[in-house]
Subunit: 327 residues, 2 copies
């Protein structure tokens, strides 16, 4: 285990300091590093606040800015932020329009955002992101995991909130996006925690894990590594089976790197996945390829498909100005 | 060795197909995949054409677009494009203003761009990029390598050409940027070629390589892995020693990931490097952090410092619309 860091204890603090210094015109770090907020706070709109464990960079910090989040609360590696952080962010940013908490569906995140929600003084609502198809087949009490579809939810809601949607409209839009967005990942190697502990099992020299989670959670099955085309075919099948019969629709295709995968391989996967979707009658009209919701140094990628209509396409195309997403 | 690909033979073709499909509004792939050009070709300006071996993605393909390159010629992995590719790109894109070839300083690239230059029918000139400080100490016949400073050269020249600079002015500006730009890299693990061959030696479980090249070339020395702060201190010392006494100047700091390094660690290195520079009186006024000039799946990063003045700051800030760089 080798990492570019000063120590496991300071990794999150050092990344936050570096990130906020590099993008000082976009984000500002609150005292005590409790949350990142926009450098130029927006007024008179629903405040969108997300957060979660660190180790998934650029999520969520990289999505704070005009047209997307108002603040992000970073926890320790793979550990939810404290209710205290979330309350401070909400109280600092909430206006009359209230706050929408965007929470990935993990036990720790849900619990701490729920505790915070009971403590905040402002109007608020919570949207759970749960786009991973895998837990739909192997259900646990907590349900589906929130993974790379989070980027799409945050982008769509960011555009709507910026355009003046109220809290109820944001919540309804969030449910609509969730209903049309599914993800599944594949890992060629698991991540290693900064203190050197590997996560869960290891993978053999020619093995991959279908349906891996963004903390290295086991997926559907381990299998022998096959070609990009064959991997894409299986991932697309899993997504379309879960979305139901939605052929002849337009889609946004996100190929998300898990942290240690070269960009060239992500575009190879994009190429295979796009062709697989189009053979099945799903037309890819918007695309995003890169590292957005990562798992430390995990090698692999996830595929997210979001079915679009005119409203969602317009929200996706709306200007965004964050460190990690900009157009 | 595990990669997301169909086969080592098709990796470059598949990445080019995926990349050009994902960014069809920005780039178009020429027949036979000989070069990538802008989807909306520019008229009446110096055409900037770069290229080189693949394996360094997003370089150069990701920098084709408004405000940066007009075309990029991709070779096989770590192998220069053929003169034929370069000639076709030049003849397709050159107008009366001529062509500037931007070439990283490697024997194969130099030779093939020189052969192409003898064959093209248009006005042309060539700028060699040679920003790596390492070969300055261990000279070979070929001189310094072109590494991540290439992004800065291409961005500055792209802005100037877009604003109407003629061929001579572009060449002079290129020399100016080169004189003020230095890079050095560090690897925690070497890259693996798509056919499974490792490059050069291997690194031990607590070892790093200072001054590594973007093809895994050996650098100044192997050493025991130390903290990000200590690594930054050594990289900054090497760069500032080579730039000469340039304190009290403004600088652009680029932390470039080599392909397999998580973004969080790149920002940790940014934080350490920025503080080291500022302790020495160099003020960081512009920043870029991410994977721009990679070496397949190599783990590590490079640091590039470019000293700015009002002209260069203005060129850096000019709008750019490419797949990999956009503002």
């Amino acid at each position: 285990m080798k990492k570019l860091m000063n120590s496991p204890k300071t990794l999150v603090a050092d990344w936050l300091d570096g990130f906020s210094a590099a993008h000082a015109h976009i984000v500002a770090l609150a005292p005590g590093r409790k949350f990142l907020r926009r450098a130029a706070p927006a007024q008179g709109k629903v405040a969108l606040i997300s957060g979660g464990g660190s180790g998934h960079e650029p999520l969520h910090a990289g999505f704070v800015g005009r047209g997307m989040l108002d603040a992000a609360c970073p926890g320790p590696i793979f550990t939810a932020p404290t209710p205290d952080q979330i309350v401070e962010a909400a109280n600092a940013l909430a206006g009359d329009a209230g706050v929408l908490f965007i929470v990935k569906n993990y036990a720790g995140d849900r619990m701490n955002f729920e505790m915070a929600a009971e403590m905040v003084r402002c109007r608020h609502a919570t949207l759970l992101v749960e786009d991973d198809v895998v837990d739909a087949e192997t259900p646990r009490a907590i349900g589906r995991r929130g993974v790379a579809g989070t980027v799409i939810v945050e982008k769509m809601l960011g555009a709507a909130a910026e355009a003046g949607a109220d809290l109820e409209a944001c919540l309804a839009l969030g449910e609509k996006v969730k209903g049309r967005t599914r993800s599944i990942g594949v890992a060629l190697s698991y991540c290693t925690l900064p203190d050197g502990r590997p996560r869960y099992a290891t993978l053999g020299p020619d093995e991959m894990e279908f349906g891996v989670g963004i903390h290295g959670e086991p997926g559907r099955r381990k299998a022998k590594l096959v070609s990009a085309d064959a991997i894409a075919e299986e991932l697309v099948s899993a997504i379309l089976a879960d979305l139901g019969d939605r052929r002849s629709e337009d889609a946004l295709l996100l190929i998300n790197g898990l942290g240690g995968t070269p960009l060239s391989e992500l575009y190879v996967m994009y190429n295979s996945t796009r062709r697989s979707l189009e053979r099945r009658g799903v037309r890819v009209v918007r695309s995003l390829v890169g590292n957005f919701v990562t798992s430390l140094d995990m090698v692999g990628c996830s595929v997210t498909v979001a079915l679009l209509d005119a409203e969602l396409t317009g929200l996706w195309d709306s200007p965004v100005h964050t460190a990690a997403l900009r157009w």
